[in-house]
């Protein structure tokens, strides 16, 4: 039987997380289908149909999925579940929201945030903030999986899948979408940026984050933060990198005024190169940083901007 990947999108663009989830699904060795649930999401369907390894795109285009919530998404996925033996979603806040509902209704465990497909029924996943890696084998029956997208390379856009419309499922009517305040930024998304520069409590205020933003703009980098910086209200919650925030794995991660607590490391230690600026030379972040600058950030960051300008950035 085939595997079904649930697409993540905003009705306009297909998120990179989907292409990475498809890459994981392809490794299961079965045909891969994608479900696009949305409204007026034609461009998303086209992009999904191009992903290498995808045989078919199921489209549920309905007002019910303009702003999908867990209850409506789970009902839709369950209406299609008979046809699939594996259902996968990216481990984003939306995948994490609806997929466990699907698993519970199918009476199977969910295998959360897989890092690796060992075989069609065996997977690696992180536990204890990534300080241990568990290899788990699923029992016979359906498998429900969320995928840590940083662990997989996005499927290329070289395919051409068939498209099939599917009916909307009924709305349980117990919850409804009210509104959203999304952080707007011209900068790349945190989880797919090649360079990420993050600030911690050491930044002291939201105003001071502007220093990091200037550097980020030069490097086409995304800006992230530690929990302490979010809790203190310097930056919005969606900046948080870590065990209970976003997981990132850019080519370069620059930690500024961040001590390096295990919960923070959990979200960035798979970055290719880690650089840190901290005035405390004993800060744990230096134990994993490839390049460390022991300095006061209020001097170092403006210097960084200046030197980058000199280098032509």
């Amino acid at each position: 039987m085939a595997a079904l990947v649930i697409a993540e999108h905003d009705n306009k663009t297909l998120k990179d997380a989907t292409a990475k989830t498809v890459a994981a699904a392809v490794q299961l060795g079965a045909p891969v289908h994608i479900l696009v649930a949305g409204q007026g999401c034609g461009a998303v369907v086209d992009a999904a149909a191009k992903l290498a390894g995808v045989e078919k795109v199921l489209v549920a285009d309905d007002a019910l999925y303009a702003r999908p919530i867990a209850e409506t998404m789970a009902a839709l996925i369950l209406s299609l579940a008979d046809r699939y033996d594996t259902i996968l979603a990216p481990a984003t806040t939306s995948g994490k929201n609806y997929l466990p509902r699907v698993a519970a209704k199918l009476d199977v465990p969910q295998i959360s945030e897989i890092l690796k497909v060992v075989s069609a029924d065996t997977f690696e996943r992180p536990i204890y903030a990534g300080n241990a890696i568990q290899t788990v084998q699923a029992a016979a029956g359906k498998k429900v999986i969320t995928v840590r997208t940083t662990a997989f390379k996005a499927a290329a856009s070289t395919g051409s899948a068939a498209i099939e419309n599917v009916a909307a499922a009924s709305d349980p009517g117990t919850a409804k979408f009210v509104g959203e305040t999304l952080s707007k930024s011209e900068r790349p998304e945190l989880t797919s940026a090649k360079i990420v520069i993050s600030g911690g409590r050491g930044l002291q205020s939201g105003e001071n984050f502007k220093m990091l933003e200037k550097v980020a703009d030069k490097l086409h980098a995304a800006v992230g933060a530690s929990r302490a910086a979010v809790d203190a209200g310097f930056v919005p919650n969606d900046y948080q990198v870590g065990q209970t925030g976003k997981v990132v794995a850019p080519d370069l991660y620059i930690a500024v005024g961040i001590s390096g607590a295990i919960q923070h490391l959990a979200g960035m230690k798979d970055s290719k190169v880690i650089a840190a600026i901290n005035k405390d030379e004993e800060a744990p972040i230096f134990q994993i940083a490839d390049v460390g600058l022991v300095a006061d950030l209020f001097k170092a960051v403006p210097e960084m901007e200046e030197e980058l300008s000199k280098l032509g950035y």
Binding site: R101, P109, N131, N237, D238, T244, A275, F286, V291, A295
Partner: protein, 248 residues
Amino acid sequence: MKVLVPVKRVIDYNVKVRVKADQSGVDLANVKMSMNPFDEIGVEEAVRLKEKGKASEVIAVSIGPAQASETIRTALAMGADRGILVKTEGDVEPLAVAKILKAICDAENPGLVITGKQAIDDDSNQTGQMLAALLDWPQATFAHKLELGDGKAGVEREIDGGLQTIEVKLPAVLTTDLRLNEPRYASLPNIMKAKKKPIDEKSPADYGVDTTPRLKVLKVSEPPKRQAGTKVKTMSEFLGKLKEAGVL
């Protein structure tokens, strides 16, 4: 309205875990254990609802070994009214936890269940959602702010793009995110009072739930270790090293 708060006993978040040499799991011998931090936030939210007169009773539930009664006591010291300990041996997967919680909900009829968004040991992030599904209740995960209305709740949620507001009919399951509140420390008098509050002891069999794991853990291994690199003194050296590494 009763509020049910599941509280899990987990390794303290400050402890650096060690993988056992035989790869059978992590070493929990003589390690400090605490209430899952997200569950402290859950207890705090429930107790605040009671203090505001919106909840009549707060019930803390833990599924785990005998020592999980200490976790329940912590919840009672924070202001929960009574506890239920479902005694188990070995790991209980989120699905089985959700089934036990469902049976407890069927018996207690709470108007709201507040779980943590994630247990910091298994990092599963699924129990609350599974419970909501089993009960056919709506869910409000990753809660940032809760506004309890008449028969419904408005919940602001922390999502990847920012914040989202949804409205759920009650009864519902809420899962806590970090910014929902700042949990209180229990005062000494309240810790003393908590010793007199009742804890019911149950077993999974009392609820007809089979807790045999469905996933087979083949091994638990150490992640690849990163080495400390070089420390530099100036910004130009710093940028030079990054250029050398090919990432600038």
